[in-house]
Symmetry: D2
Subunit: 373 residues, 4 copies
């Protein structure tokens, strides 16, 4: 006898609505033997009316995570662990170890004088510094020094190694990568550097000095790789840029003052698969709700406030991390009437846009604010 | 007591190699309660040395499938089923109903006078006609008539409906879509046309007549959408193009004479998420093996031969379908010394390329030919 | 005493209107000694209200030119003349030997077995065949055979040589080049091939066979040069394309059925500095007048009719040539109620567009038709 | 009897070399009556071996010009003159009032409280401030304040007006425009603003604040016009950028440390027809000679030194202006061993590049230095 099946029936014109019969069930079994199936048994499942993310909205509090991150130093050596990282494991995405959607994120700690072994892979990373001094990264021979709220790119295929200089202090940073996406696309390669370390071949911070100048480009600087040559993006000019923009723009009702980090050669995303943005919520600002496709991982760079995601309130403070899954309603509020709050955001927006899959919608009722569950 | 875990240990410099201890297992449990984990327990799994596809190489014989497809006409009405389609269900991808990787494919049958209800969705489709006369498709008001080995695009977001005219014969075609990919990206929307049908608003085949002219473009024809305006691609000019190219090019050692279908406005892929190509194996031609990232679904448009995929031989005839998973070794051979064989191929190559994830490798040993298992 | 000057005075707010005084005239002389001048003496001249072309509308009748072209065969040897060409010399542009604006054109004759010496230059050319059989051109090793109303590109920097095969007949063609423009930009280089001829290195017509296929591109065919790889554009598929477009489009009120020849890799112009188009006037068609920037040289590919240019009527027959200067009103009429007429057009439209200088305007009065002077 | 002609004969294979005969002279006359000519009589002239610029190298000393500029204030009213500008009149280009090639330049003076009438035209301008305080420009409703060595764009088609605020001081600036080029292309339109002035519609300097941030772009800031949205480029960040680049790059042997001003949206030139760059000659630096196509107008932004152009030495000081014609050999030397010198440069490089006409060559002999005549 044939096994029972879920056929996802819907009684709507244009949708599949086929009742199981013994004859059909037998037919389904036969098809199965040919590695085939009847579309109408799965059509309504694989063609949903709108996206339903498998990710859950989650807030990771830095005060919870920090102790555990620091404890890893006592528990494992860098040699054994490769990297001492506590990764964010979305309850809906544990099968792919993602923080949200296809984005991986973790907090890594490194002590002065420590250095990770050089390697490269198809996954692309953004390393965002949370605390400590003396952190640096070498990418394809370019050394970048890193301070608070700075970040560095280690794009697809580049040799890279993170380290903290001997005269620094213990450093914690957030790693954000597209590992789950690259795995899903079955395109991840990994290679350890033959020397486990690489030589610094250029003046320190040369890529940011060369490419990070407003309205100016180096003559003869032909850069055609699929990622930004700027490599390091610093907090100070970013905060200055947001402040300037706040002084001459109303911003967005949904996002306040929002700027995207870009590849200066294309004005497009810093890497093809991973986008980064920074947004300022002005004193007292409370945004309206909207939703859009794509997966978003926020990191509180400055200030405190709360976000309402699919009707649930999440209160956040500096260096807390939270996620907004695809097509989830969300709105943000700054807790302070005097200081601004600033949110750093990693996302797969570049993928959604390049593939023509980005769509957004404003929350129309209740003056744009979700009822809190 | 803590549960046992798989930690994917490797004894290689730069890779995770941490032994479970009671203290660590307790630590892992604690992390879990914060929706977090220790990277070194999964690092070697999520950062593999090279891709290992979850798809299996499969050959679907048309002589097996055809009867089952035709039988569906007796088993379900179009009204109940939505569409009478037998889909290809890769044993490694049954969870997402994919033929290979993130690509869906099915065989659909329609009788003269039948018409599917008009709808639209974020997934993009290519409908490739296998047999029958009188098939046509309407896309955003443009009607396209379709013959043997022709195909039509129904891109992301376009209203579309398939039909067979009353004076035609029963038609079977292959549907290829990016449904699994769009679902994975959590960006699929579905909408039934309010009238269940749409008006034809332009002369028949106008888009192909307007845009399908070599080296000529209509003045004032500004087309900026993310997909080709050509909509229908016909077999006759395709076969002529392959023949002309074969007469003035050596082709590729791995692919024979291969042409990509393109958006004439960009010379890029016909749609952002789904690529199509046609390749000719000349009489007696046997290609060398290579492998590359991306998922590929072949359809035998003409002739017969065999392919060796990861060491396994698959013999194919006209309208058979087979797949090559990501990073699988593959080579093709034409069975005839007198006639050419032609393979139509659907793939996610546009995604792989746009995301910087395409990589390929020639099979170096044995004069380029795999040992057959 | 200072010399008198023309100061182009206008009595309009915002325009220069300065009367000569002895003091000013002395001042002007002083400025002149420093290689300087007073802007207000020339401002109204160099900033006109709208363009006034220095070119005149001209019609060159083929029946007038043909005899003279043929006579050149008796008058000069190819060795002495380089090329036996009668060039079109617009009365307003004799200083730069242009047919209109910055476009050079000439009629060249070559007898069977003759071959011009191979050379290259920064100017780009389009060779349009008017009569005869056996004409061919070699461009960077690619040999193209040429028939009636076909044309071949010899882009900036490519080695090229024209010839007529020994079994052909005397050939006449129109050469169109951007020589005056490249000279004006002071960027013309000329080089004679060291061997005075070049080897044919590819199958005949390979570039058109490879690149001239609607909706298909050769895999691996990376072409990044600034001009079309198609090299030869044929009359038969062009006329077929116009006919197809006429069957599914209303066309333009000003241009009838107009298609631009394009680089298939970019869908942009065939070369950066020189554009080509072909337009069909349907039986009985009479277009409305408009004007636009840019210089246009028409060649009657088929049929007969007339054009009204800045109020003056020009009647044309097959292979007649006429020009429309920048910003000149123009409209066209087919003389036949049964046959179509087809106009080939060379222009600097690619320059105008790339530089943001293209502008157009419809003739508003009199139902869109100019009064004939 | 026929008039004598210059036929530019050359006794080189592949070049025209036809002797005048009575028969030929009569033939030429006949051709002339049809608005035609024999190519071989002009071929060697219009197809030169290499470019020979009609412009001459010229140095305009600011100490010479400044007095004359200031004197214009007493000589003409702004109402009568339109603008009080002394323009640079290259002895080889007086027919088109160009400083070099197709580039116009002039020095303009304005007193506190003065304001030019608002207008627009197809020509594009760069206004580079030389001295004075309080200068500002309004472009399409955006007001930009301007200090020493800052510049503002007034692109093709934008409404613009220059002014000096009442609390400022007399200002002198350099205007650089593509007027001769736009006239040559017969595409210049001019319009006086109906109100002779325009309203300021945005916060002061908003475009530079919004678009002038390194590695950051405003979300939602879709800018597709053919020119930079940044409008104003300031001296301070430019000098800082050159200093940073000098600290991490060897620069070019021909140009020292050279950066191009760019449209941040495209990383291409600030306007389609007019490019701007700034280059630093480090203390003691002496560059090697090269030549290239395109016309270049240098303005000494800082320091002193000399340039050798086609073998002639020109010594320059701050705010002196000099030109390098197309294909002229040139090299630069900083006069100081302690301070850097900085040269601002306007050019038609964007045109040369877009049209595929840029070419350059190093001076090979004498260790790269020209003999001085
Ligand atoms: Fe890494
Ligand atoms: Fe949002
Ligand atoms: Fe569909
Ligand atoms: Fe392959
Ligand atoms: Fe030539
Ligand atoms: Fe026109
Ligand atoms: Fe102006
Ligand atoms: Fe130079």
């Amino acid at each position: 006898m044939s096994k029972p099946r879920d056929s996802y029936r819907e009684d709507v014109a244009g949708r599949a609505n086929v009742e199981d019969t013994p004859e059909l069930l037998a037919y389904y079994d036969e098809l199965e033997s040919f590695d085939a199936g009847a579309l109408w048994t799965v059509a309504n499942k694989i063609e949903p009316w709108e996206p339903q993310s498998s990710s859950q909205p989650v807030l990771w509090r830095y005060k919870d995570l920090r102790d555990h991150v620091l404890r890893s130093v006592d528990l494992v050596t860098p040699e054994k662990a490769g990297r001492r990282v506590i990764y964010l494991n979305n309850p809906g995405r544990t099968d792919v170890a993602a923080a949200v959607g296809w984005i991986y994120a973790g907090l890594q700690v490194m002590h002065p004088g420590e250095q990770a072994s050089a390697h490269r892979h198809s996954a692309s990373a953004i390393r965002f510094i949370m605390e400590g001094t003396g952190a640096y990264t070498v990418v394809d021979g370019h050394k970048m020094t890193l301070g608070h709220n700075d970040f560095v790119l280690t794009p697809n295929g580049t040799w890279h190694e993170h380290a903290v200089s001997a005269d620094g202090s213990p450093c914690i940073w957030q790693d954000g990568l597209d590992i789950p996406f690259v795995n899903a696309m079955e395109a991840n390669f990994y290679e350890v550097h033959p020397d486990l370390t690489q030589a610094v071949a250029y003046p320190v911070d040369d890529m940011t000095k060369t490419w990070g100048n407003p309205g100016l480009t180096p003559r003869g600087g032909d850069w055609t790789k699929g990622y930004s040559p700027m490599f390091k993006y610093e907090w100070a000019p970013t905060y200055e840029a947001l402040s300037k923009l706040a002084g001459c723009s109303d911003g967005s009702p949904f996002d306040g003052i929002l700027m995207d980090y870009v590849n200066p050669v294309t004005n497009g995303p810093v890497m093809k698969t991973l986008g980064a943005s920074m947004q300022m919520l002005r004193p007292g600002e409370r945004t309206k709700a909207h939703r859009h496709t794509g997966s978003y991982l926020y990191h509180v760079a400055k200030g405190s406030g709360h976000s309402i995601i699919n009707g649930k309130r999440f209160d956040w403070n500096e260096h807390d991390i939270f996620c907004v899954p695809s097509w989830a309603w969300h709105e943000h509020a700054n807790a302070s009437d005097r200081d601004d709050a600033v949110l750093f955001c990693l996302s797969d927006l570049p993928v959604m846009r390049a593939m023509g899959l980005y769509r957004e919608q404003a929350f129309g009722e209740n003056d744009g604010h979700q009822p809190v569950l």
